[in-house]
Amino acid sequence: MEEKPCVVIIGGGVAGMQASLDLADRGLKVYLVEKSPSIGGRMAQLDKTFPTLDCSICILAPKMIECFRHPNITLLTYSEVEDVSGSAGNFTVKIVRKPRFVNETKCTGCGTCTQKCPVVKPSEFDMLLGNRKAIYMPFPQAVPRIATIDKDNCLYFTRGVCKICQKLCQADAVDFEQEPEEVVLNVSAIIVATGFNLYNASLISEYGYRRYENVLTSLEFERLVSASGPTGGHITRPSDEKIPKKIAFIQCVGSRGLGRGVAYCSSACCMYATKEAILIKEHEPESEVFIFYIDLRASGKGFQDFINRAKENWGVQYIRGRPGEIVEDPRTKDLIILFEQTVSREVGGLKVDMVVLCPAFIPSETNRKLSEVLGVKLDEYDFFKAKDSLLAPVDTDVLGVFICGCCQGPKDIPESVVQASAAAARAAEVITLTARKET
């Protein structure tokens, strides 16, 4: 029987999903491997996207559903790639499916178990601002809509008690005996799309992240402003849940430095800070929003216009000057930003209710292991290295393994999608070439 050529795609964010759909639509078989319980990635965490201000999950969810129901795509969520051998056209990929302790074919995603579970833990999807249970679905639009048990915090696994989820599950889907499952696939090509993390902003200690309650990172802010987030989309500040009237964004936290952090520019932050500033103005037109920047990087189509509109139509105030320090007023938990307005040479302190830091984009922590498993080189920052940045920008030096999205370097959503389609095209090309050789 002739088998369809397969591709394994590692990472279920927007890049991984785009590549999956491109390949699946042209008749190739795709296995989309995602280490967390749901596909969606960072884009699912955002409220709106720049410069169009589309609702992020609204444009992403149809793609997520499509990945789920496409006859040529098999989702392997809560799974990781352990070993790869072989070569282009004939890779052997060993994938470990971590046990969810929930039977995937039986679970209906009704959510009763998550309501009744007594254990409350900070939610990773909500950047630890909101909570989830020990048995959980990471966010309302999660795909696949199957519960997962976090073994390290489940009362049954830690103390041998509870099992309420099993008692209440009407589909009899909870299975505490589930074991990790090994899946071995023979594939023709591999695409890596492992995305990014944010630099640990507490290392820029003078900005007070994790010391001052009202200093947040941009992803934390996205969860606050998202309707599916911990505050239902109301921008309230952590210390007292009051609505902040003065908010400041600080750009280049850990980026563009030969000292702490990374030396490169993270590419998307000037734009997303502008977007978040506009969102604040949409929520609270009377609020004052400040963006402390060094340069404003607006390189895409419509980007400069977006920033101009933020200034002129929305009244967002841009101050050129990277702050020296943030000090907290211990009584009110307000924050004072010490800065130089480099255009006018004025040195001052600005009191605000909340600060949002824009930390550097750094690679996923899985890249190191994957680079060994795949035999693909990493650059000095642990991003995957392209074979040639001009002539073969989505190839790696291992034929048949391709990269796309932020795992290659910081970029925005449109650029990730473009690279994903490029990687899919290259993967399809390699499949055609290697298949021809065999016949």
Binding site: G257, G259, E325, D329, E340, Q341, T342, V347
Partner: protein
């Protein structure tokens, strides 16, 4: 780094010569080229807060790459207080204070500036406008070496200017400043923060009384900084001047002992209080054997020596700590007659918080450096110290950048000695407040950062008592903000 501006051949020759000198003395000129004028250095700089019209590090370094020669004529070159905040906060961690220091030395030694004494006097005049002790300040920032045998051209020139300035104090009759207000302000502590507030308020016409617990005024300027870094006669001259202007300093009057803080609060006479008690309490090590004979806390040792008592040290000294106080303690031990001084600290050589030049000078004087060691136990014969046992410190900070040292207990080291000096941290002593005002985590006084007011109305605080141990210029900057804030408070003006 080459100078592209300037047609005169001698002009560009000078600039290239300076660039070569800087590179030769290991200034990372290439790294300086990456500066994108973000402004963080200026934003973090306390000197800018005090002298906004005369000092701007960002612009100084912009000019450095554009017109190397002419910036040597700027007074800004001499105003850097070497507090190092710009270096720590710069995205590239550019060693800006080191560049200032090197440029200063080059300017004098190579004769790039025709009349350096005038420039220094100009600088002192600028300092005098804003701070009450310009010569003390200049002495600490320029660090001239007084020892005749070791003096360089730089030291001679700087000392000349500073000594002449000191002599001027004795020449004129000082008339006390007029009091135009009736409200008297009480200031607790006669260190740099307290003296700055006192002088500022006096200049505004307010009568002030400074309460000082010790027998002599000056705070850390007197009891923390050793004689070889700041001679007492310099400090005495400038404090006398401040007293002659009309600042009343009551020594041997500890608030909390001679009079309680409560009493001070209730005193009708004082319409506002400024707390500037500094950070004079030594952190305890909390290991076995800490109370044996032969163990000193560096702050206590320095205080005794600076108040002209002669504590008895042994011959083999072990100093524990990696900061400036540890360096001061180690070098003071040598001057007290110790034969061997060995210093051990948690940090690696690069992580040590002490100023680079302090470490260099300590090493040159013969202090033996042992880095990345954590004290496990102080060894003794039951009464007296015989040494300290250390374990290898693997890391000082955790992945969140917090102080959280981790050790490898299998790697040990013993430093033998009959004296141990502990310099592992300072904290404010806030017991005199008896919880009358909010205190952050029990470690520092909580203030509104804009007004410097504590949770008690009319009671303000600043300096090390608020920030924890910091530098002279930061105490001065805090004092100026506080004085302006107290003035607004007394006039009923909202901040």
């Amino acid at each position: 780094m080459s100078n592209k501006i300037g047609n005169s051949s001698s002009g560009s020759f000078q600039a290239t010569k300076i660039s070569r000198e800087l590179s030769k003395r290991s200034i990372d000129a290439e790294k300086l080229a990456y500066c994108y004028t973000c402004g963080t250095c200026t934003a973090a700089c306390p000197v800018v807060r005090v002298f906004p019209r005369h000092f701007n590090p960002r612009i100084f370094f912009q000019k450095l790459s554009l017109d190397l020669e002419n910036i040597l004529t700027e007074t800004g070159l001499w105003l850097c207080a070497m507090c190092d905040r710009c270096h720590k906060r710069c995205p590239h961690e550019l060693k800006l204070p080191e560049i200032f220091s090197l440029l200063r030395k080059l300017t004098i030694e190579q004769g790039y500036l025709p009349d350096v004494p005038s420039k220094l006097e100009e600088t002192l005049a600028i300092l005098r406008e804003e701070i009450p002790f310009p010569v003390v300040y200049g002495w600490l920032c320029l660090r001239p070496c007084e020892e005749e045998t070791k003096r360089s051209k730089f030291d001679n020139l700087v000392l000349g200017v500073l000594q002449r300035s000191l002599a001027n104090y004795k020449k004129k009759e000082v008339t006390p400043l007029p009091k135009t207000h009736r409200e008297r302000i009480a200031i607790i502590g006669s260190g740099p923060a307290g003296l700055t507030v006192a002088w500022e308020l006096l200049r505004m016409g307010f009568p002030v009384t400074v309460f000082e617990a010790l027998s002599e005024p000056g705070g850390m300027l007197r009891v923390g900084i050793p004689e070889y870094r700041l001679p007492k006669y310099v400090l005495d001259t400038e404090i006398e001047y401040i007293k002659d202007l009309g600042v009343e300093i009551r020594t041997n009057t500890a608030v909390g002992k001679v009079l309680s803080f409560n009493d001070l609060l209730k005193e009708e006479e004082y319409k506002a209080i400024f707390i500037a008690t500094g950070a004079h309490k030594s952190r305890k090590l909390r290991v076995e054997g800490e109370d044996m004979e032969g163990i000193f806390h560096a702050l206590d040792l320095l205080r005794q020596v600076n108040l002209r008592k002669r504590p008895k040290l042994g011959k083999r000294v072990v100093v524990i700590g990696g900061g400036n106080v540890a360096m001061d303690g180690a070098r003071t031990a040598l001057r007290l007659g110790a034969e061997v001084v060995q210093l051990a600290c948690l940090e690696s050589r690069e992580e040590m918080p002490a100023h680079e030049w302090e470490i260099r000078e300590a090493l040159m004087e013969g202090v033996d450096l042992n880095v990345s060691w954590g004290p496990k136990e102080i060894l003794g014969d039951g009464e007296k110290v015989t040494g300290v046992k250390f374990v290898r410190c693997v890391s000082v900070f955790d992945e969140n950048g917090r102080f959280n040292p981790s050790f490898d207990e299998t790697v040990t080291k013993v430093l033998e000695g009959d004296t141990v000096i502990l310099a592992i941290g300072q904290a404010p002593d806030l017991s005199f407040l008896r919880e009358k005002t909010d205190v952050l985590g029990g470690r520092a006084i909580a203030v509104d950062p804009m007004t410097m007011e504590t949770s008690l109305p009319g009671v303000f605080a600043g300096g090390d008592a608020v920030s924890g141990p910091a530098t002279l210029i930061e105490a001065v900057a805090a004092g100026k903000i506080a004085a302006a804030s107290i003035d607004r408070y007394l006039r009923g003006v909202s901040p």
